[in-house]
């Protein structure tokens, strides 16, 4: 498997990456298509950079996931710059939680593809769900926040 697919699949099999992605989608699920698109673009761009920037410590993913879950729990509706910030934070958290050990430039685009596709599809799903069952976004946000806080505590213990 080449580094491009490795960059995408490492994120797909990392529980914290998937949780961060779901948390971001849940947070953006209360917005319209334009803000969700801004968030997904910001997430994939910053995620690609973060996947290659090993100076960004992986330990930041857990608190970031907790923040994203909190946005969903509070049922906030990020607009404009706030949507870009939420998407960007989600992209960074998703990328650093599951990036591969080897540094090769195709890892970045691979991560970006996974984040963009995953975030777009999951956000669209949350937007549909939010119109019928608004509590689902809050419940999923609570899961993501709980996972982030638990893994943060685990990292501190280590």
């Amino acid at each position: 498997m080449g580094p491009f697919w490795s960059g995408a699949l490492h994120l797909a099999v990392s529980p914290l990456s998937v949780a961060s992605l779901l948390g971001t989608a849940a947070a953006l699920g209360g917005t319209d298509v334009r803000d969700a698109g801004r968030g997904a673009l910001a997430g994939s761009a910053l995620g690609a950079c973060a996947a290659l920037a090993y100076q960004v410590p992986g330990g930041l993913a857990a608190p970031a996931a907790a923040v994203l879950g909190g946005v969903a729990v509070l049922a906030l509706r990020p607009h404009g710059r706030f949507a870009i910030c939420v998407g960007g934070l989600g992209g960074i958290a998703t990328a650093i939680a599951g990036r591969p050990d080897t540094i090769e430039w195709p890892v970045g685009p691979g991560a970006a593809l996974f984040i963009f596709l995953g975030l777009s599809l999951a956000t669209a799903a949350f937007q549909e769900i939010d119109a019928r069952f608004p509590l689902v976004r809050r419940v999923v946000g609570a899961w993501v926040a709980a996972i982030g806080l638990l893994l943060g505590a685990l990292a501190l213990r280590a």
Partner: protein, 198 residues
């Protein structure tokens, strides 16, 4: 709408296949499975989580979402205590008691004020979280284990809410109250087992 859901499922399925092949019963996948099965495997956890959802649905808004949201977040407090190795007395008794108390709340159709309902849930969530957190550092893949058990807990809550929504159906309330009685009785049996009396 239908085509979007099919597309989403297809993409998720395609992403899941390599993961399933790469990890079978060990590592990340094994840790996730172990964590996911943990709340489903123990009757005490299963009944307590389902009762949270049922009671929330019984109480209506805002508690229908407040209880399933508060539970995992407060559970983290207990989880962190467990991870850090800080002992909490009577954890198993607390877990068993949660089944009895929540079963009774449903059986008696107790419409607790929101603050009191959240406080009750919070106390029990700490016991449940501590029980999970103690096991977490010894798990094969702690990240995956934590994700698995939080997700399973949430899904049981949602199933409980689904069951609890029967309260709006004709004859649903007596049925749910009877179910609450059965849950409480099962909790007594579990507690007796914990204390070595059964």
């Amino acid at each position: 709408m239908k085509s979007r859901i099919i597309l989403l499922l297809a993409v998720l399925g395609a992403l899941a296949v390599p993961a399933a092949q790469a990890h079978s019963g060990a590592g990340v996948a094994g840790g996730f499975t172990a964590g996911f099965m943990h709340p489903l495997g123990g009757l005490d956890h299963l009944l307590a989580m389902a009762s949270v959802g049922i009671w929330g649905a019984f109480l209506g808004r805002p508690l229908i979402w407040m209880l399933p949201v508060a539970f995992p977040l407060i559970m983290v407090v207990g989880g962190v205590l467990g991870i850090l190795g800080i002992p909490l007395p009577f954890v198993e008794v607390g877990v068993s008691s949660s089944v009895i108390a929540l079963g009774l709340a449903i059986a008696m159709a107790w419409r607790a004020p929101p603050a009191i309902a959240v406080a009750i849930i919070s106390v029990f969530a700490i016991f449940h979280g501590h029980a999970h957190g103690t096991e977490l550092p010894t798990a094969a893949a702690p990240e995956a284990y934590a994700a698995g058990f939080v997700m399973a807990t949430g899904l049981i809550h949602i199933a409980g809410i689904g069951i609890g929504l029967l309260v709006g159906v004709r004859g649903g309330q007596p049925l749910l109250r009877a179910a609450g009685g059965v849950i409480a009785a099962t909790g007594v049996w579990i507690l007796a087992g914990t204390l070595g009396l059964a």
